[in-house]
């Protein structure tokens, strides 16, 4: 079973995403803060990471960079979850090393496809 690290501070969002993922046979690891997310990423080496960009403690882009610093985490696809945010975010995210992004609100119908698309593209490289 594949492991997914979800870094999200909002309870409802966390519940929604993890429910969808688990319904699709993924094992979920939950992190509520950026720091926690970084630690768990390094510790558990999940198969991919879903990262909420609007985190309370560290900027999402920072978290991205921190995780990527760790060589072990090099190959882990990271997908950013953004909430239709400001101009420039997209570039920053891509530059910081994320493999794709999903816009909130999450559409349960299509979200899995989106995720799987991104994962595959990373592993194909």
């Amino acid at each position: 079973m594949k492991k997914v690290l979800v870094i999200e501070d909002n309870d409802n969002n966390m519940e929604l995403i993890t429910f969808i993922l688990e319904s699709n046979n993924y094992q979920t690891i939950k992190a509520k803060t950026g720091q926690e997310g970084i630690d768990l990423a390094i510790k558990d080496l999940p198969d991919f990471i879903l990262l909420d960009i609007q985190l309370p403690d560290i900027m999402g882009t920072e978290v991205l960079k921190e995780i990527r610093k760790n060589r072990a985490c090099d190959l882990i696809p990271i997908i950013a979850i953004t909430s239709y945010a400001m101009a420039g975010d997209r570039e920053n995210l891509l530059n910081a090393g994320c493999d794709g992004y999903i816009e909130k609100p999450i559409d349960p119908v299509v979200v899995m496809d989106q995720i799987e698309n991104f994962i595959q593209s990373r592993s194909q490289e």
Partner: protein, 820 residues
């Protein structure tokens, strides 16, 4: 008979002898029998009035009158007895015939009633006004409101022509202070208790030097001083006859005791000199050699010639009399040297020069030395200076010296040293005028540009002729030029004599002469008046320039201040705008996040449930949850629209161009409205060439398409919706044609405005915020770089569309942003 004849003869002889005695001895006087032959004893009234009559240390009666009277008495073998008394006592005695003659009596009609006077005037006396040294008293008018000291009882005070009468007649207001003597008059002036005072000329000339006073030129009340005799005197006529005769003779002889006495007494010189063998030259410390004295005696008549216009040195006044500095010198020299230099009148200067060269005229008393003149004349030592100057009109520019007029037309007087100077020392060819006046007139009229001449004489004539447009522009040099006596060169002795005479003048005497004739002392240099005028003008001009400058400065400063303020305001406004902008951005960002977050949950969870992921649902549950889900999505749309518009308006919209195949995008957009289409049974037609490819923002184009389609569906109840895409040059025209309710012409312009929702029966059913078309317009113009259009007709349907560039260029979008 014989006895009778003898007696008769005796008597006859006696008678004859007696007759003989009577005939030949008629000049025997029977009055006095006890004095030697023919001596007359004359009792002379004597009082104390130095220097006219007074006692010397040895107790002798001396003075002007006694000294002269004594000489006459000597000649006539009279014996004089001086009987002392006061003035009034003497007059009384005269009346009573107790004395035979009184000296120093001023003739008046009144006195002529009381006494007999001789004919020859001994001396003319008059009153002189002396004044405080600091006052300027030129005429009687200047005595107005002054305190005048006068001697009580003097005819100069109270007489018919005395000062009181005169002031009354002239109606001049003044105060009289009466004192007992002339001494006190001068004393009062000295210590300031009086402003002016009246003394007689003799007293004044002798004693005024002892007081702190100065002589004014005011004189009045001339009185002829003569000898007076008692009316009843028997010897009066005889005395008068003799005295008049001697006086006449003595007056003619310049070396007589009479003349010497007057000279000596009035100059205050020692009395002994009257009688000494010394002549006047010795009196004045002039030591002439015997040869020189002889020369003087052998040349009793010397003539000199003058330039009649050479004021103030030598010139003729209105009455044709000789005046000037030189004249004073000549007078003095004549007196002191015993010369008799006389002026040749009625000659022009040129004539004088030529006569002098011919030795018809002996002296030119006031000339400067020139090479030309040296040929004909010998020169005395210099006795007066002058400055040679350039005279121009006042409107000529400022000159500094002779160099400045090198190229001008210069006038000069014929036969003047100035002409020789110009010819000798400059390259100027002077234009010659015959007289000084002519030359000045020529300069004033502009016939010449400048005149070179003597400063003093030029200034005199400029004033006299009132040539107000002339000025003394500059001196030719800083040195003074000298004037000399020029004497015919075959009379070398006269040079020596004249020089000795000139030497005898004291500095005070020379100063007095100059002061009398020259009002203006010329000091080389620029007249302070002119300097000040120039300085003043320059200051004014400079002042104006400075004022203008300051004014300009002030205005500039004000402008700068204003600009700085405006700048500040601008930057403040900018700051505020920036802050607002930041706030907006933050607002948008937080709005975005905050509003959507709960919606995420609602849409997400209801979606998950509806997918059956949480378990089976019954129909009701499905239905109701679907409604919730839809509502949430609708709300999301609204929020998104609002945020989009905010972003566009804030200029914060992201533009992400990518390569799109138009037909694919259209297909994608149709998917979102398919349910509604199906529900209303509206047919969808597409005419999109497959090969149209765009490089633009996919998301936003999609948004526009979906919005348009959504509208088309909302406002149609039947019929079809056709999507057509056409290439136009570098642009694509996409049209969405519906067969809906259409839009009236008047509503067309408002369509794309924000919050516009047209009234129609479908309004409420259609929903929407009124932002759809506004957003499309904004997106089309500011993101896609194109434009929107619409055509419609009520009841017939509408055509909405976009025209956008195939390849989006950032400049296009930016421009739109600024224009909106």
């Amino acid at each position: 008979m014989l006895k009778q004849i003898f007696q008769f003869t005796n008597i006859n002889i006696c008678i004859i002898a007696l007759l003989y005695a009577l005939v030949f001895m008629d000049n025997i006087s029977f009055a006095n029998t006890d004095h030697p032959k023919d001596s007359l004893i004359i009792r002379v009234g004597s009082y104390n009035n130095r220097p006219k009559i007074y006692f010397n240390e040895s107790g002798q009666v001396v003075g002007l009158f006694p000294d002269v009277l004594n000489i006459i008495a000597q000649k006539e073998e009279w014996k004089l007895q001086y009987i002392q008394g006061s003035w009034s006592e003497c007059l009384n005695r005269l009346k009573q015939n107790e004395i035979d003659i009184m000296v120093d009596v001023a003739f008046s009609k009144a006195r002529a009633q009381k006494y007999i006077f001789n004919k020859e005037t001994f001396l003319v006396n008059w009153a002189t006004v002396y004044a405080r040294k600091d006052l300027r008293i030129d005429s009687l008018i200047d005595l107005k409101k002054k305190r005048i000291a006068v001697m009580k009882g003097s005819i100069h005070t109270d007489g018919d022509n005395g000062i009181k009468r005169i002031m009354y007649q002239f109606a001049i207001d003044c105060d009289f202070i009466e004192v007992d003597s002339y001494k006190e008059v001068l004393t009062l002036i000295s210590n300031g208790k009086a402003d002016v005072g009246v003394v007689n000329r003799i007293f004044g000339s002798l004693f005024s030097k002892l007081y702190d006073v100065k002589k004014t030129s005011i004189i009045f009340n001339p009185s002829h001083i003569k000898f007076a005799f008692p009316k009843q005197s028997t010897i009066a006529q005889k005395l008068i006859e003799k005295i008049d005769y001697h006086l006449r003779e003595m007056k003619k002889n310049s070396d007589s005791i009479y003349n010497r006495a007057i000279y000596i007494y009035l100059s205050g010189l020692p009395r002994e000199l009257i009688f000494s063998k010394k002549d006047k030259t010795e009196i004045n410390n002039i030591s002439l050699t015997i040869a020189e004295k002889e020369w003087i005696r052998n040349h009793p008549n010397i003539n000199f010639g003058i330039d009649p216009e050479f004021a103030p040195f030598e010139f003729l006044n209105n009455e044709g009399e000789l005046n000037g500095i030189t004249f004073e010198y000549i007078k003095l020299l004549n007196e002191r040297l015993g010369l008799n230099m006389k002026v040749e009148k009625n000659l022009s200067w040129n004539m004088v020069i030529s006569k002098a060269k011919n030795k018809e005229i002996d002296i030119l008393p006031c000339v400067s030395i020139t090479k030309e003149r040296k040929k004909y004349f010998k020169f005395s030592r210099p006795y007066v200076n002058f400055y040679r100057a350039i005279i121009t009109r006042t409107d000529m520019p400022f000159l500094t010296g002779i160099n400045d007029i090198e190229n001008m037309t210069v006038a000069v007087q014929e036969n003047s040293s100035h002409k020789d100077y110009l010819l000798e020392y400059t390259t100027i060819k002077p234009i010659i005028y015959q007289t000084l006046k002519d030359a000045l007139y020529a300069t004033s009229n502009g016939n010449v540009q400048a005149f070179v001449g003597n400063i003093a004489s030029s200034a005199y004539w400029i004033r006299k002729l009132n040539l107000v447009n002339l000025k003394i522009a500059a001196p030719t040099t800083q040195e003074a030029q000298t004037l000399h006596f020029a004497i015919r060169n075959d009379w070398p002795e006269l040079i020596s004599i004249i020089n000795k005479g000139l030497k005898s003048l004291t500095p005070q005497e020379e100063r007095d002469i100059r002061k009398k004739w020259v009002n203006v002392e010329y000091k080389p240099g620029i007249a302070p008046g002119i300097v000040w005028r120039y300085i003043f003008q320059i200051i004014i001009v400079a002042g104006i320039i400075v004022l203008l400058f300051l004014f300009w400065n002030f205005r500039l400063k004000r402008e700068i201040k204003r600009r700085i303020q405006a700048d500040k305001d601008l930057s403040e406004a900018n700051e505020r705008l920036k802050k607002l902008d930041q706030l907006k951005s933050m607002f948008i960002a937080s709005m975005s996040h905050e509003l959507r977050t709960p919606l995420n949950s609602i849409i997400g969870f209801t979606g998950v449930i509806l997918l059956g992921m949480t378990g089976p649902l019954n129909e009701k549950q499905k239905d109701q949850l679907t409604r919730v889900n839809n509502s949430a999505k609708h709300l999301l749309n609204l929020i998104t629209d609002v945020i989009d518009i905010s972003k566009i308006e804030a200029g914060k919209i992201d533009i992400n161009p990518q390569h799109i195949v138009l037909s694919e995008l259209v297909n994608e957009s149709v998917i979102s409205v398919e349910p509604q289409l199906a529900a209303k049974a509206i047919e969808l037609k597409k005419i999109i060439p497959d090969d149209i490819k765009l490089y633009t923002d996919k998301k936003r184009l999609l948004q526009c398409m979906i919005n348009y389609l959504s509208n088309a569906v909302k406002y149609s109840e039947k019929g079809s919706i056709t999507i057509i895409a056409k290439k136009l040059d570098h642009k694509i025209k996409i049209s969405i044609i519906d067969t809906g309710i259409g839009i009236s012409k008047k509503d067309l312009p408002k369509l794309f405005n924000s919050f516009e929702r047209l009234d129609s029966h479908l309004k409420i059913k259609a929903g929407g915020t009124g932002l759809g078309l506004y957003l499309i317009r904004k997106l089309a113009t500011e993101v896609l770089g194109g434009n929107v259009f619409v055509e419609s007709e009520i009841g017939k349907g509408s055509t909405f569309g976009l025209i956008i560039p195939i390849t989006i260029k950032l400049e296009d979008t930016k421009d739109q942003t600024q224009n909106s």
